[in-house]
């Protein structure tokens, strides 16, 4: 009896905190220039011009979600930790129930007119 209930709940509230799709994590662009080069504990090591870094898209070697760090490798094999706040990644934080699933679930969910919100309605 428990299985179908759990299945329904799991289907609707699929808990994905980070949008880990099938494609690997990549840096799409550098937001800061110069950019902070950090150590693995998120301490600042130096600032470096982005022209000295690999040209995006850059494959991410490792990801530390707690410290918001990604590890990349330069062409000469140097390993660098970067702050995710200073780069744009191809994947980001996610929600467990997006607009599409919300509409698909068939449950009425609307907000009143004349309000200002953080985002637009699902149908906007």
């Amino acid at each position: 009896m428990k299985t179908p209930i759990l299945t329904s709940i799991a289907f609707i509230f699929l808990n994905l905190n980070f949008a880990l799709a099938s494609e690997p994590l990549k840096i799409l662009s550098y937001v800061a220039d110069p950019i902070s080069i950090l150590d693995e504990n998120a301490r600042l090591v130096e600032k470096r011009a982005t022209k000295l870094l690999p040209k995006p898209a850059v494959d991410v070697q490792a990801y530390n979600e707690d410290l918001d760090l990604v590890l990349i490798k330069t062409s000469d094999g140097e390993e660098l930790w970067l702050d995710t706040f200073e780069i744009k990644l191809n994947q980001g934080k996610a929600v467990n129930l997006d607009c599409y699933k919300l509409l698909q679930a068939g449950v009425k969910d609307e907000k009143e007119a004349a309000t200002f919100g953080f985002g637009a309605d699902c149908n906007k």
Partner: protein, 528 residues
């Protein structure tokens, strides 16, 4: 061309003089052209002199503490809360305290606010004109840190502090004046090119349109056409988007000053991007491919250029892009992706040291994971799934899910009881459905839809006294008298309070949606 711009600005200033709430209209044009608000000033946004006017206020919102209720207000039906309120005192107090700490950094008159959690799986909180900040359960289900919550609340608080609702109302009221503005440009140019000349002994006013004058007139006419033609879909949304930009920046200032990590804003916008889905890719494509020319045209107010650009979209027959164009212009918010980049640039400029601060996940997760709070989330999650099962006709599955929802501590909250009510009605068990109405622990937290179900149910049972009691409760809960005025009139008439029924029906005639029904009833009642 520049003189038209000048005349428009001067005429605009004359027409709108004394109306400070329209500040930012210029920025709306900037927003339309894709320019970034944070690049238009130095220093922090909160320190800008234009914000001084919002820091001192004396109105119904000024003061400290929380708003108590909507009772006594006259809120239009479309602005009334649509969702159930979720009773979760610990979570609500927690967020109200965050708002208080954010407000402490405003440096101006405090405003009364009320944070409420609503039964919605949407991700984005919102604020109304009365100082209420509604936080959907969907927000709390998804955020990971107090910093994220603080940035979201700060954004909503910023709308209230910057009086965006009020400014929006004024903006809408100015729509008609746009036509007048364009006409005044046309007249001004005609006057400029009209000379008093003597002809055959008589003086005549002779109009010889100069090249410049003609050009100004045609541009003003075009401006008028563009503004009116695209008023709703272009200008008004550009205006709203510029207000969102302002709220993003002020939120960052307030939250950073309160000690929260700026990067939480980025987390929120990434989640919003994920929530809103795939719309952005089409829009980005449009933006990247087509806006350069449009941007230049609007920046220079070369309106024929704008028109040509818009025409070319259509002439190229790009169905998708044309609808994307409309879609883009109709969106009240810039894409989360772009907002994220903008706000990160601002943080790296103004809050470099704080930009390295990591979010604090511990406080929020400890609170969220407390047994009683988990129970609340679980109850509403099951209720949502049950509701979804009812809508797809899977009543067996819905029954199991709904029973799980009623095994939690929130079992008698309106959001849970409504699902049970709907389920029993779908199962043709109206007596059992009725029991769920009686079990609701607090009707002031119910949605208008659920109130309506209750009122309709009592009407069917001819319990008119009960109907009136519930309508009175709904009126004070939502601050609205139009929603149930038809049922109220019928109940009064059935209780033989004919004068009161007639009076209610006369009042009803001022409400557009209900007017036709009330007119028929009034006629019948007056004939009886």
């Amino acid at each position: 061309m520049k003189s038209v711009h000048k005349i428009l600005l001067i005429s605009g200033a004359l027409l709108l003089s004394g109306c400070k709430t329209l500040d930012g209209a210029g920025r709306a044009i900037g927003n339309l052209t894709g320019s970034k608000l944070h690049n238009q000033f130095d220093g922090t946004y909160i320190a800008q002199s234009e914000l001084k006017q919002y820091k001192e206020r004396e109105d119904q919102l000024s003061g400290s503490g929380a708003l108590l209720s909507y009772s006594g207000l006259n809120i239009p039906e479309q602005q009334v809360r649509k969702s159930h309120i979720v009773e979760a005192p610990e979570l609500t107090d927690y967020m109200q305290n965050i708002v208080t700490s954010l407000m402490a950094n405003w440096g101006g008159t405090s405003v009364k606010t009320k944070v409420q959690i609503i039964n919605s799986q949407n991700f984005a909180p919102y604020a109304d004109t009365y100082g209420t900040i509604s936080v959907p359960l969907g927000t709390l289900e998804n955020v990971e840190s107090e910093d994220e919550i603080a940035l979201l609340l700060a954004h909503e608080l910023s709308h209230i502090l910057l009086r965006h609702h009020e400014r929006n109302d004024v903006m809408n009221a100015q729509k008609d004046k746009v036509t007048m503005l364009a006409k005044s440009v046309i007249l001004a140019n005609m006057v400029k090119d009209t000379k008093l000349v003597k002809s055959s002994g008589d003086y005549k006013l002779q109009y010889n349109a100069s090249k410049q004058g003609q050009s100004n007139i045609s541009k003003a006419a075009l401006y008028n056409y563009l503004i009116n033609g695209f008023s709703d879909s272009v200008w008004n949304t550009a205006w709203q988007r510029s207000q969102e930009d302002e709220a993003d920046l002020l939120a960052m200032d307030l939250a950073t000053a309160a000690g929260y990590a700026p990067r939480a804003s980025s987390h929120n916008l990434q989640r919003l991007n994920d929530f809103q889905g795939k719309q952005d890719s089409i829009l980005s494509k449009f933006w990247d491919q087509k806006t350069t020319a449009l941007k230049t045209s609007v920046q220079e107010l070369d309106l024929s250029g704008v028109s040509q650009q818009l025409d070319s979209f259509i002439n190229e027959g790009m169905g998708t892009l044309v609808s994307a164009t409309t879609d883009y212009f109709q969106r009240s918010h810039m894409s989360p992706d772009r907002r994220d980049v903008n706000i990160r640039e601002y943080v790296l400029r103004e809050y470099q040291p704080q930009s390295r601060q990591r979010v604090n996940k511990k406080t929020w997760q400890q609170l969220r994971d407390k047994k009683q709070n988990q129970d609340i989330f679980r109850g509403y999650r099951y209720a949502f799934a049950a509701s979804s099962a009812i809508s797809s006709g899977n009543l067996d599955e819905a029954e199991k899910l709904a029973l799980q929802a009623t095994s939690t501590s929130v079992r008698n909250q309106p959001g849970i009881r409504e699902v049970m009510y709907d389920l029993r009605m779908a199962q043709n068990q109206s007596n059992k459905a009725k029991q769920n109405l009686a079990l609701v622990n607090n009707w002031t937290h119910a949605s208008p839809d659920f109130f309506e179900k209750k009122v309709d149910f009592e009407m069917q049972q001819h319990n008119y006294q009960q109907v009136l009691q519930f309508i009175e409760l709904a009126e004070s809960t939502f601050g609205n008298k139009s929603m149930f005025i038809v049922q109220k009139s019928v109940a009064l008439a059935n209780l033989q309070h004919i004068d009161q029924a007639i009076s209610a029906l006369k009042e009803c005639q001022s409400y557009e949606a209900e007017k036709p029904t009330c007119e028929i009833l009034l006629k019948q009642l007056e004939q009886s």
